[in-house]
């Protein structure tokens, strides 16, 4: 059981906001912390990892107390069994892929895990490269592997997929799921992307204005709108055009712009930049395989 209960006053450009959480996550679960930017997601992860000090509360992971303000316990990040994947990857530029992983080894730890992990993330051919010579997706995989070298009790991923294109994102989701199962981790993923959450998480934590406003299975959360769509995509509204009596919405889904018809009453509630769910049922889609070279990490040729 992972128990996270703490509060901290966050200071931002818009003034102060209290971050106040009190939640329990089952050991071995894959939780996703979801919320708008500025909701306190990164601060949440930094407090759990010990990189940011909370003002009061308690953090217990699998029976070990990491933080307890009443008992005066506050473990340093070095003492917490935590893996952290940073948004900017934070790979050490002076070390090769293999050295980045070996650096993470605890004193006396068997180096075999470094080989296993390099194999698991399929970077054997790049083990002697420096991070500067890797693509975004490859760096991301190295960062993920490095966070697992010490087999942490809890893995924290701070928007690890935000900077990647749609094709790479889908592959990375597979890698993350694979390591989560392989190493029986408890994982908390920070993301505001609905596809990440629906594909990976079994628990959704919705953080808003510094508080958890909803916790439960993701499908339930996104299905709240009582849609039973056979097709469900989430995207960002990028344009609204009026055309005769209807409106055409341009929605960015993954790397593609999709045009959807909407009527005036629907458009009224929408703003450019809104996150939308596009669902449809009862039509027969055409499926065609896209030819992708597995070594090519750019967007597939269509």
């Amino acid at each position: 059981m992972i128990e996270l209960a703490f509060h901290k006053t966050l200071h931002s450009a818009d003034g102060t906001m209290p971050l106040r959480v009190d939640l329990r996550i089952k050991q071995g679960s894959f939780a996703c912390l979801y919320g708008k930017s500025g909701a306190g997601k990164t601060s949440f992860a930094r407090i759990v990892a010990g990189l940011l000090a909370a003002e009061a509360g308690r953090i217990r992971v699998n029976g070990a107390t990491w933080y307890d303000s009443e008992a005066g316990i506050e473990l340093r990040p070095q003492q917490r069994s935590v893996g952290f994947v940073f948004q900017d990857y934070a790979l050490f530029p002076n070390m090769t892929v293999e050295e980045n992983l070996s650096f993470a080894l605890r004193r006396g730890q068997d180096a075999g895990i470094v080989r296993d992990l390099i194999e698991l993330i399929e970077l054997g051919g790049l083990r002697d490269r420096r991070p500067a010579m890797l693509s975004g997706g490859q760096r991301q995989r190295v960062a993920l592997a490095r966070a697992l070298v010490q087999t942490p009790a809890l893995l924290l991923l701070d928007e690890p997929l935000a900077a990647l294109d749609a094709a790479m994102r889908a592959r990375l989701q597979q890698y993350i799921l694979r390591v989560h199962r392989e190493y029986r981790l408890s994982t908390i993923l920070i993301s505001h992307d609905v596809s990440d959450i629906l594909k990976m998480a079994d628990t959704l934590l919705h953080l808003e204005h510094g508080g958890i406003v909803w916790q439960g299975p993701p499908a339930k959360y996104f299905g709240r709108s009582s849609l039973s769509g056979k097709f469900q995509f989430s995207g960002e509204l990028i344009a609204i055009e009026a055309q005769d009596v209807v409106f055409i919405l341009s929605i960015l889904i993954g790397g593609n712009v999709v045009k959807v018809v909407a009527d005036e009453s629907e458009v009224k509630a929408l703003r450019i930049g809104d996150r939308l769910l596009v669902a449809s049922k009862a039509f027969n889609p055409i499926i065609r395989k896209i030819d992708v070279n597995p070594d090519d990490e750019r967007i597939p040729r269509s």
């Binding site: 990040p77 070095q78 940073f86 948004q87 934070a90």
Partner: protein, 224 residues
């Protein structure tokens, strides 16, 4: 033939100062780069003061402070057997203060230019502050490190006012090259002054050129 002693002394002073300063400045620069303490601006100001203060001001106060006829200087002499005025040790101490900004500033901006997550990533991986410094931070700021070392070294070679104030002109003790040049000119011995001056000019030119070549990446491009 000129007397080589002032040149040897100059380089001995510069080397000693640079090594000691490096040991002091690395932790100081790291602290200045990351701290949110309120006394940071005060410390930054103190470190930068030698940039704008006439060297004679610094030399004057050091002379007063270290003079054995004063409490502090007397204590140093009686208890530690240290005489800091008109001695090589005194010159080293004065140079440490005088060259401090040239060592601290490049290091501080080097630390500040590294992504804070590098340090945090090392901490989360269980690495101590010291291990993080030597394995992660310093190897990724080699150009700042080189600038700091060379600037501090070259600047110590160029010292004059401070040395004159607290070192004087004792051959083999405090008579560094810059003082020797002044001395030779006073004695109308222009040929000797020119030799010292030319050597200093050429050596400092080569050192600084080396820094610019390395940091500008010219050397890497030549190799390819």
């Amino acid at each position: 033939m000129i007397d080589w002693e002032p040149l040897v002394l100059t380089f001995k002073l510069a080397a000693t100062t640079t090594v000691v300063l490096l040991i002091i400045a690395v932790p100081l620069a790291r602290w200045l780069a990351y701290t949110r303490s309120r006394i940071r601006p005060i410390l930054e100001t103190l470190v930068s003061m030698p940039l704008v203060l006439p060297p004679t001001v610094l030399g004057f106060y050091l002379l007063i402070a270290f003079s054995p006829s004063n409490a502090f200087g007397g204590w140093l002499q009686d208890w530690l057997g240290l005489r800091l005025i008109f001695s090589f040790e005194g010159l080293v101490l004065a140079s440490l203060i005088y060259s401090m900004p040239f060592m601290v500033h490049p290091l501080q901006s080097g630390f500040a230019s590294l992504s804070p997550s590098l340090q945090e990533a090392a901490y989360v991986l269980g690495k101590s502050k010291t291990a993080t410094l030597f394995k992660v931070l310093l190897p990724n700021m080699k150009s700042s490190l080189l600038s700091a070392v060379v600037l501090a070294f070259a600047h110590t070679i160029g010292e004059f006012g401070v040395v004159l104030m607290i070192g004087g002109n004792i051959p083999g003790q405090t008579r560094v090259a810059s003082i020797a040049i002044y001395d030779e000119v006073e004695a109308l011995n222009y040929a000797a002054a020119n030799t010292y001056a030319l050597i200093l000019f050429v050596l400092t030119f080569i050192m600084l050129l080396g820094v610019y070549l390395f940091n500008g990446g010219y050397l890497q491009r030549l190799r390819q």
